[in-house]
Symmetry: C2
Subunit: 444 residues, 2 copies
């Protein structure tokens, strides 16, 4: 026999069970996006290399998959590459279609992206992102809505999470205040690791990155800030009072939290925490205002959702002055969290509800007629395609988690009934076609 | 300003309006697939080149997009390519996962495929296929179910179609009977063009392809067959009576039509025609039994759905003896047919139902609270993010086809109401929060 076929490393097949779980995740996120008025777009899997290059740093450029036409010679540089994320194609979309768009433009997009990363546990070369962005307004109500979306998505999943919020302007203010305004990237890269490596190592790294001892000393009270969001805001406002940018960041965070908290009662949800985290420093290449990151509370997993505000994303394509804010859900990590916490619903909507199992060819034709009636009533129905051994038909139902089997033999045909077997309990009862339809459209 | 960005030729962006129409198509097809117990799988966008090469003929090999890793040198031949269709990856999936699968295995798959074809009207380099296949049984009930699926999908779309059916064994029988058993591909390639070029040109082509005049003469009665399916079956059975293969094909078509027609009353659908078409000859590289093709009756468009039975698809990956039958819906052509016949539903489910338009910052906060309540009731709701000119907010609602706008000014805040404007009629009325919720959850 030929060698068993395989798929490229870092890619995956998804089985029917995996697909119904993935669809549960996508459908949940999608319906909350829609609830907030986001509209779906899709962009091509391939973009011009000129659209992609230089947008993800040197590291990112190396991780782009390039596409070669059959017509192109191998030595020619491919002109096209696979999408690396949904954000850059979205910026390209906004600029390209600006005349057709009505701003503010609220779009969501759920599509795969590709990265030629070294595959490892939980890291794939093809994976889905679920993004929602509002562009064309700098109103902080958008940030508040994105927080509400995160809360509602995880409430529906039953995952307890905390949303960490920070602001790029606060980070800039800190760099100014400690006298190292040009070292903001070094500072944030180092303090981003606080959780993982602890304060001593962070301080070492800051010195290695060329910060003065004075600057590192001045940073200490900020790294050690604790207490409620209000306590932290008060403390940081005191530290940053000389920095206009820093104070603007503080004001933005305050306003977002005020607006968000003003509707707390209506939400009545105690399993969602919004926490100001002054050490949060993601996506600094493009974020200019709020920064978000979401972590599951009951399971050790990295960030499962993240986002922030960018004031000039479309500027790279020649359209300056369009402020936007967005959020991205990581479907693969959410998949793992739901599995680890055993939170998938028992019945996912897309499974077959009823299988007809038959003792002969005549019975099979009888079953096909009944099946048509069941399908017209909206019941997902199969007829086992061969009147083979009943045991085999039953184990097919078992393996596919089909809850009901309608058995048809000569007696049932004579009586114009089927023998309905409930697979979970093993109970059997003869039913007419109307009784069967009612039983399955109104399950108790 | 920089040059306006663009996308690779033959690819497309999909706007929100296009996406909601596409989703309508995918959702309709998907729900009928589910109704018949098909289960979704997904395979990676990229496959090993060894999986793809040689499966689509020489022409097909040339149309494969190849993928280059960043790590690979340009002169190295890429090992991976983008999926060209869903059938070969499905065959690879079945062989690779055979131990986990329960046969008969019914799968559906809705994913994009890529072909480096020359782009032209209606032909793209990235497009979606919607496939359903049953593998692991040779029962003709599967063919009948696929016909029912085609009927139900187009009934839901409101498109009148005719499904043409033929059988590869009949075509083989014809080639045998006219004394040219080895020329079946030549014969079918030529007669496949009957509709387009007429019988004279078909005869010329047959002679050019090396058929004897005697053979071409013997073929004439078959090309000119007409009448009901029963008439044609009777006539062709007479012609093929010496060919065992041919008569088996006739018997299969008869049985499929008999089973399908036995439930005709229950379906009560006069806008769907099943027609035996002895000149239908698609996909002969792999089809071995039934062949299907579907055409819209009220609009000139090529085949919008096609399929057939293949007895040895997984054989190419070393797993012989697995018979299967499948069908593939062409989403892009269906999109164009629905547009041309103006058959899209007026309201597609994913649009925003309600926009809050406000006269000031206070009113906007008031609206955000109301919006939360509406969303909790399942109403897709937006709050315009800036209390800008009312005219601008109204034209946003217009442009985005939002049917209801709730206007909030100081009077409304005092009275604990909103002024609801119905955009279609222009009618306005003040409503309390409960009245608004009821109005939008139970639209007349």
């Amino acid at each position: 026999m030929a060698q068993k076929p395989s798929i490229p490393k870092g890619t995956r097949d998804f089985s029917p069970v995996e697909m119904s779980r993935r669809n549960y995740i996508f459908d949940t996120i999608r319906s909350v996006f829609r609830l907030y008025g986001f509209r779906q777009i899709e962009t091509p899997s391939m973009e011009q290399m000129s659209t992609l290059m230089g947008k993800y740093g040197e590291e990112g450029d190396k991780l782009l998959f390039r596409i070669q036409n059959s017509g192109e010679k191998a030595k020619e540089a491919p002109e096209k590459g696979l999408r690396y994320d949904l954000t850059v194609p979205f910026a390209r979309y906004v600029v390209q279609h600006r005349e057709e768009l009505q701003f503010p433009f609220r779009r969501y997009q759920i599509q795969p992206v590709w990265r030629a990363d070294r595959p490892q546990k939980g890291r794939y070369r093809e994976f889905y992102q679920c993004d929602a962005d509002v562009v064309g307004t700098d109103s902080l109500t958008s940030e508040v809505e994105l927080i509400e979306i995160v809360e509602e998505v995880y409430r529906r999943f039953g995952i307890h999470v905390s949303l960490h919020i920070n602001n790029r302007k606060i980070l800039a203010g800190i760099a100014q205040t400690i006298g190292e305004p040009d070292k903001i990237i070094d500072i944030t890269t180092a303090i981003d690791k606080l959780d993982k490596i602890g304060i001593e190592k962070v301080n070492e790294e800051l010195l290695e990155r060329g910060l003065s001892e004075t600057a590192v000393n001045r940073l200490q009270p900020i790294l050690r800030l604790s207490g409620s969001n209000e306590d932290k805001l008060q403390a940081i406002a005191e530290v940053l009072k000389e920095s206009e940018t820093g104070m603007q960041g503080v004001a933005e965070v305050k306003e977002i939290l005020r607006l968000y908290n003003s509707n707390k009662e209506q939400r009545d949800n105690n399993s969602f925490i919004v926490e100001l985290d002054l050490t949060l420093a993601r996506g600094l290449n493009y974020y200019t205002g709020a920064i978000f990151e979401v972590k599951a509370l009951d399971v050790a997993m990295g960030s499962i959702t993240g986002g922030g505000r960018y004031d000039n994303l479309t500027g790279i394509f020649g359209m300056p002055g369009v402020s936007g804010v967005g959020i991205s859900f990581g479907a693969d990590r959410i998949y793992d969290v739901l599995a680890e916490l055993n939170l998938y619903p028992d019945t996912l909507s897309d499974t077959t509800q009823l299988l007809f199992a038959t003792f002969g060819k005549q019975e099979m034709e009888y079953a096909m007629r009944w099946a048509l009636v069941m399908r017209q009533a909206g019941i997902n129905t199969e007829v086992y395609p061969d009147p083979t051994k009943m045991k085999k038909q039953m184990s097919y139902a078992d393996a596919n988690h089909i809850p009901f089997v309608a058995i048809v033999g000569s007696t049932e045909m004579e009586n114009n009934t089927v023998m309905l077997k409930e697979m979970l309990t093993g109970e059997q009862q003869p039913l007419t076609i109307t009784e069967l339809k009612n039983k399955l459209t109104n399950p108790q």
